[in-house]
Amino acid sequence: MMTRLLPMLWHTLGSISLTVALCLLLTADLVWGYFCLNRRTSLFTPLNDMGLIAWMQTYGINNLFFSAWFFLLLALLALLAVNTFACTTSRVIQLLRAKRASGLQRLVFKLAPHVMHYGLIVILAGYLCSYLFTQVLTSSTLVPGSHLSLPGARGQVSLLSFDSEYYLGQRLAFWKNEVITPKARLLLSDGASQREAILSCNQPVRFQGYSFHLIDFAPKSLGGMKMKTRIDLHIRKDPGVGLYLAGMALFTLGLFFYVYEWIVYREAHK
C-alpha cells in the first residue's frame, strides 16, 4: 500500500499543473497583499525586526483582515518549495540517467533550469531561516568613546570617530552642506585582538557573526542646530543570510547557462 502511495504522492506534488496553480495563486495573493500593505504599512514594519513567529502571534493574528494574505503567502510558498523540489529532482534523475546519450556539455546546459529551481528553494529556505532565527538588537546608539557588548559573544564595539563627507556643490540644492557619505570609524575588539572598520550607509560591518547596519546618525549637516555626534545601529545575527545569498548565486549561475544555451544553441540553429 505504502509503496504505491508514496510514488503517487511524489508524482502529485511534483506535477506541473500544481506549479501553474501555485504561481497563479501567488500572483493573486501578492496583488491582494499590495492593497493590504499599502493601507496598513505600519502593521508589517515590525516584521523587519521582531521575527516571524513573534509577529504572527501579535500583529498578524490580531489583524487578520489585513494580514490573511501574508499567512496564505507563507503556505503557498511552502507548497511551491515542495512542488519545485519534487518536480526538479524527478527531472534531474531522468537527465542523469540519460547522461551518456547527450554528452557532458549538453548535460550542463540541460541542468541549467534545474539549477535555477534549486536556487529558488535555497533562497526560500534562507528567507525562512532568516525570519525565524535572526536576533536583532534595534536602536543601539553609540557616541564617540562609548562601547556596546554583544550578547553571547566576547566582543565589544566602540565608536572612535564619525568623519563624514559633506556635499558642498551647487547641483543638489536640497542637499547643500548635508552629509553625503557618513563614515563611522568603529573599533572591534574580541578580547585577544582588535581591528578598525568603517561603517557607512550601504556598507555594513561584520563581527563575531553579527552585522552592523547604520540606520541613523547626527550631525546631518554643517549648518543649523548643532547636534551631538551619535550613530544609531541595527545589529543583526542572521543565520539565513549565507543561504539566501548562495541561493541567488545559484539562480544567477543557472540563468546565465540557460541564456547562453538559448543564444548559442536554440537561436543560432534556427
Binding site: L26, L30, V31, L37
Partner: protein
Amino acid sequence: MMFTSQSVFQLAWVLYSLALLMSLGTGKRRVFTLFFLASGVAANLVVVLFRYHQAWPMLPMHLGAIALPLCLGFLAPFVAGSSLPRGQVVERILLALIVLLAGTALCFPKDFYLPFLKSKTLLSHSFLWFGLVGKGCFAVSATWALTALPLCWSTSCGQRLTDTMHHCHRWAALGFALWTVSMFSGELWSYLGWGTPVVWEDPALTLTMAAWFFYACYLHLHLTRSWNPAARALYASLGGLAIIALTCVPDFGPFRVPF
C-alpha cells in the same frame, strides 16, 4: 525662455502621439513615424537625464513613470525590425502603449519626493534599470500575444500563430531574466542597507514579486505546452497588460492638470 522637465515631457508626449498617428498610415509615413519616435525618445531622455542630474549619485524617486515610455521607445524599433508582417501591428500597439503611459505620467506625476541617502549605491540604480527594461520586455511580449489572439480562432494560421507566440515567449523570457536580476539587486541593496532582504515598508515589493510569479507561470505554461495556444495568448496578453499596469501604480501620484 525657461524649459522645465514638465514642459519637455509634454513635448515628448506630443512627439510620441505624432509617431502613433504616422504609424497608422502606410508607405513613406514610416520614415516620419521613426523620426517622431526618435524625437520623442530624445525629449524623454532629456527629462530622465534632468531628473538624474538633480539626484545623482542618489536614485531619483519614482522615475519609473517617465522612464518606462523611454525604455519602450528604445525597444519599439527592434520589434518593428522583425521580418513578420505582424511587427508593424506590434509597433502600433506599442506606440499606443507609450502614449498612454506617458499621458498617465503627465496626469499623475509623482515628482515631489526627494532622493534618500541609502539609494547612493549602484545596486539601487541596477534595481531600477533592470526592472524597467524587464518591464519593457514584458510589455513587448504582451503586445505580441495580443496580435496572436485573432490567429488563435483561425484554422489556417497554425504556423503564423507559432511564430507570433515564439516572439511573445522570447520577450517574456528576456524580461523575466532582467526582472530577476533587478529583484536580486534590490534584495542585495536591502540587505546592505537595512540588514534584511525584504524591507516591508514598501508595498511595491509585493507587486514586483507578483509579476515575477506571473511570468514564471507563463514560461512554465509555454515550455510544457500545458494550455492550448489560445489560452496562453490570452494569459500573456490581457494578464500581462494587467500585471504591467499594476506594477506601474506605485509610481503614479495624485492628479495634476497635464498642460
